[in-house]
């Protein structure tokens, strides 16, 4: 065993020794051929070497250099390099996987308050649930958090665009589990609450649109109500984006105009307001800015576990 290790060390060291020795030899040749440094050339007479001898020396030098470089690139060295590269790649992959796993655990932890809120919504809407169903839903919620965390980590560093709404994804997955595990009447109650919540969000978005226009154009009470009514009538799901405008997005020094809903707004403006609206929409068009884009999660939720789900 010891002999094998010594042999291995000898083999490993051999190409390098050969390379260094060859290069050293080449350097000695350079010394004899090239002669003394330039500043001494004037003082020291150049050695008298016949032309064929110089050619021979150069040939030997060339071969020695060639051997030195060749020694560095033997198949054995190449094989060891490949092995080393593969090991390094594996180590890097392992480190990345460990880092991702760690990130997933952290995100899963971060999602817990939102998971508790989802469970609270179920408890409020569905009333008393059998213990077995509670266990199923609790497990489904745990899995939903793990899946969302995994998607979250998977999305990081990718330029995929669009919106990643962790809370909405959690809700979708948990809602699917509710549909599968809970009695139909309770599911209906749960859906009624979910629908009511969505309607409240839409109404809040509409009010925010009107408020934004009001701040910019000084609407009258009648104008505000007329625009609000128009928005209710012609509402489009994508306009919910107004909920995400917290004032952080500024275009040309102004908050983005909700010009995606222009058809519901402009008919209710007077001529001066129309002018101001057109200038605003030109300078800071809200249609051109997707405020909702990116990762969306504020981390808010219930702070403590509800023991009821564990019973």
């Amino acid at each position: 065993m010891a002999e094998r290790m010594r042999q291995h060390r000898r083999q490993r060291g051999r190409p390098l020794v050969r390379a260094v020795a060859s290069l050293f030899g080449a350097a000695l040749f350079i010394g004899t051929v090239a002669g003394p440094p330039r500043e001494l050339a004037a003082q020291v007479p150049a050695p008298v070497v016949p032309a064929p001898a110089v050619e021979l020396q150069l040939d030997i030098l060339q071969r020695a250099l060639g051997q030195g470089l060749e020694a560095l690139f033997t198949p054995e060295a190449a094989r060891r390099k490949a092995q080393g590269d593969a090991a390094a790649a594996k180590a890097q992959g392992d480190a990345q996987a460990a880092q991702q796993k760690q990130q997933m655990r952290q995100i899963e932890q971060m999602l817990q308050p939102a998971v508790r809120t989802e469970l609270e919504i179920i408890r409020q809407a569905c009333g008393d649930l059998p213990s077995a169903v509670r266990m199923k839903l609790r497990e489904a919620a745990r899995q939903a958090a793990a899946q969302v965390a995994q998607e979250w980590v998977g999305r990081q560093g990718q330029r995929t665009g669009g919106t990643f709404d962790a809370r909405a994804l959690l809700h979708q997955r948990i809602a699917a589990a509710v549909e599968a595990a809970v009695e139909p009447e309770a599911v209906a109650a749960y859906h009624r609450e979910s629908a009511a919540r969505e309607m409240r969000r839409e109404e809040a978005a509409r009010i925010r649109i009107v408020a934004k226009v009001d701040e910019h154009l000084d609407l009258t009470a009648a104008q505000r109500e007329a625009i609000l009514a128009d928005l209710r009538q012609r509402w489009q799901a994508s306009w919910i984006r107004e909920l995400f405008d917290n004032g952080g997005v500024v275009v040309n020094g102004q908050r983005p105009a909700p010009d995606y809903a222009a058809a519901c707004i402009t008919p209710h403006l007077d001529p001066k307001q129309q002018e101001a609206w057109a200038a605003w929409a030109r300078a800071a068009s809200g249609s051109q800015v997707n405020i909702a884009q990116g990762m969306r999660f504020d981390g808010q939720g219930l702070q403590q576990d509800d023991e009821w789900w564990k019973r």
Binding site: L69, L72, F73, P113, A114, R116, T117, E118, E120, I121, R123, Q124, A125, R167, R192, E193, A196, R197, R200, R201, E203, A204, I207, R208, V210, A211, D214, E215, H216, D218, T220, A221, R224, L243, D245, N246, G247, V250, G253, Q254, R255, D270, K272, D298, Q300, G301, L302, Q303, Q304, D306
Partner: protein
Amino acid sequence: MVEAMSARNARQALDGMPHRAGVLVVSVMLVLVLPMMTGGSTGGGLRAEDDHVVEPADGVRRGQVGNQVDLGVNFDANVFEQQGGWVLRGGVGGGRVRVTATGVEQITEAPTLERARAQAEARLARVDRLCGLTDAQRRALRLAIESDIRRLVERIDVQREKYLGVSVNMADPEGQKVWQKFQQDVQQCRRWLLELFDTGSLFSAVLGSTLDADQTARLEAESRARRTFRWRTLVESVLVKLDDAIGLSAEQHASLEAMLLAHEPPLRIEGIPRQANAHAEQMLVYLTLSRVDQKALQATVSPRQWKTLAMFVNQGKAMQSWLEQQNLLEPQQSNR
């Protein structure tokens, strides 16, 4: 420059060479080039013959200048630039200078407040739209606006004059004291800007005396409606967040909404900053929740929800003094 060329030549030389030989060459070159880059023992650094090096003169090195703050130069930037939309033209520190035969001197004229006029014109237009002003009323109100603006400019000029040519050393306790006084004066000027046409202004006084009873009633009704709508916007927006956080049922949402709308605070509706302050608005709603009947509030939600809601309410309460500085409320009310 020399080193850059060497590196470029080295890179070109390396192209096409096998990897390990490349490493060898680079190592050798680094040994040769590194002493040149670091300047060796001479400390010359990366300099070529054609480099033009300017050494700072004694006494004006950055570290020393860093502690000195010229308050006169900083005054306008502190007063106006953080006010959101106030446009400053000229004035000390505004950047305008006058070139004379003897050199360059800074213009110390009073700043022109475009935003003040624009704001006043917008307010006048709204009053006109609601009340149908006569020419005489419009003229009187415009005069009042101009007087208010002039008075503001004069008041700010007086404050600014105090700091012309005053430079303080921030590393010195005395300098810090002067800086604190400076900040107080800046805050005062910002308040004047914000309350330019509020109660106490000539505009407000003329408006009260020049409008007839019918016009006044219409204006008051409109202001009330506007304030209520603004509050409703804040309430609905914050309830969406609260809904996300504690999962409200429709019934719970309706109860909280009713409680909040019934406790409408005296929100400022004129001269509000264009940039929304979402955090301040959220805290104001939580503060308002702290003023409703707490037993009724607690009874509205489940014990699990209450633990989190109570935390939010306490956050709002803790932010009260900060909220008073955010200009969300009418000044008389916020000073209470």
